[in-house]
């Protein structure tokens, strides 16, 4: 099964990510699906990453952690956070099909980031939920 996003939908997604995350100091943000496809990515222009590899690994990583959750009797772990010395990665599930990944430095607190990500996710759900049948929640 394939799905499509048009210019209006992608512009809306980028507006949400820019206003909530990039303008608040996040270095790089990307929206991917669980197959590892990149839907959109934005950054603050400082660093270029190999985003296709990052997306494939992120989808695999999230899938692996979800499978671990099921083994221990949890339905899912809806967010993940990896802390580095200078860079950190935060993963937040949007629905069963989509994942939001943010890369940020130590100048942003995790609490603030989580709040901003949560705000973005609510808005993104409205755009994404009609796309893939059964992907809501």
């Amino acid at each position: 099964m394939s799905y499509t996003l048009d210019q209006r939908q992608l512009d809306r997604i980028e507006d949400i990510l820019k206003a909530d995350l990039v303008d608040n100091g996040v270095r790089c943000v990307f929206l991917i699906d669980m197959a590892g496809n990149i839907i959109t990515n934005l950054d603050n222009g400082e660093k270029q990453h190999d985003i296709y590899s990052l997306a494939a690994l992120a989808a695999g990583n999230f899938g692996a952690v979800s499978a671990m959750a099921k083994i221990i009797g949890e339905n899912e772990f809806s967010l993940l956070f990896h802390k580095g010395k200078k860079e950190n990665i935060h993963f937040n599930k949007i629905s069963s099909e989509f994942l939001l990944i943010t890369i940020f430095g130590n100048e942003i607190s995790l609490g603030f980031l989580r709040m901003k990500v949560a705000e973005s996710v609510e808005q993104l759900k409205e755009v994404l939920e009609p796309l893939v049948p059964g992907a809501g929640g």
């Binding site: 394939s2 996003l5 992608l10 699906d33 197959a35 695999g60």
Partner: protein, 201 residues
């Protein structure tokens, strides 16, 4: 599950190389990476164990150019072939648009080929897909071993074991020497892109 970006006119297509352990899935990707260096700007990503076996997957993205005005970005994945890694194999299949089943032509691998194909069918069923609904091709790898006196299965035997009732395109190949590696890849990309087009029309 291909994603079509109408704004940038990009289609992302996910191709998975599946098959028994040590069958040559990673070797296919390594050959493609070397052969198409001018088009592949990214490094191949591999998640391996210390013993150099694929633990999670290998990943190789590249652009194949424009089709009907759309830029096609192909993402190649392999799965770990060893039976114990079924959980990760299943994860990699998520959203697959096309599959290359890499069978090992060595006579001793006859049973593991059949088991791996059966495992593929079971894992596809978890995503409500099947070998009828997903585009796929077969590659009978390691045919060159016959020259060294190692017993290999005949193409007819492999067809009977793996392709009976399916009638999919099949390629006798040597991933190590690059024989029919590109032909296999071209075929699966063509089938996957046609399938996505048909679905959208």
């Amino acid at each position: 599950m291909a994603f079509i970006n109408l704004k940038n006119k990009v289609i992302q297509v996910k191709i998975v190389y599946y098959g028994p352990g040590r069958g040559g899935k990673t070797t296919n990707l390594e050959y493609i990476h070397r052969r198409f260096q001018d088009r592949i700007h990214a490094e191949m990503v591999t998640v391996k164990t210390h013993g150099d076996r694929t633990l999670f997957f290998d990943f190789l993205p590249f652009d194949i150019g424009l089709i009907h005005g759309y830029q096609i970005k192909v993402q190649l994945y392999t799965v770990p072939g060893q039976p114990k890694y079924n959980a990760t194999r299943k994860l990699v299949l998520r959203g697959v648009d096309g599959i290359v089943f890499v069978a090992d032509s060595m006579a001793v691998c006859r049973e593991s080929n059949v088991q791996s194909l059966k495992n593929l069918q079971e894992n596809l069923a978890a995503y409500r897909k099947s070998l009828v609904s997903v585009p796929w091709v077969l590659q009978y790898n390691k045919i060159d071993l016959a020259e060294q006196g190692i017993p290999v299965l005949s193409v007819e035997q492999l067809e009977r074991d793996l392709n009976r009732g399916f009638g999919r395109p099949a390629f006798p190949a040597s991933a190590l020497k690059g024989v029919n590696v590109a032909a296999t890849l071209k075929k699966i990309i063509s089938l996957a892109v046609t399938s996505i087009r048909d679905e959208l029309m």
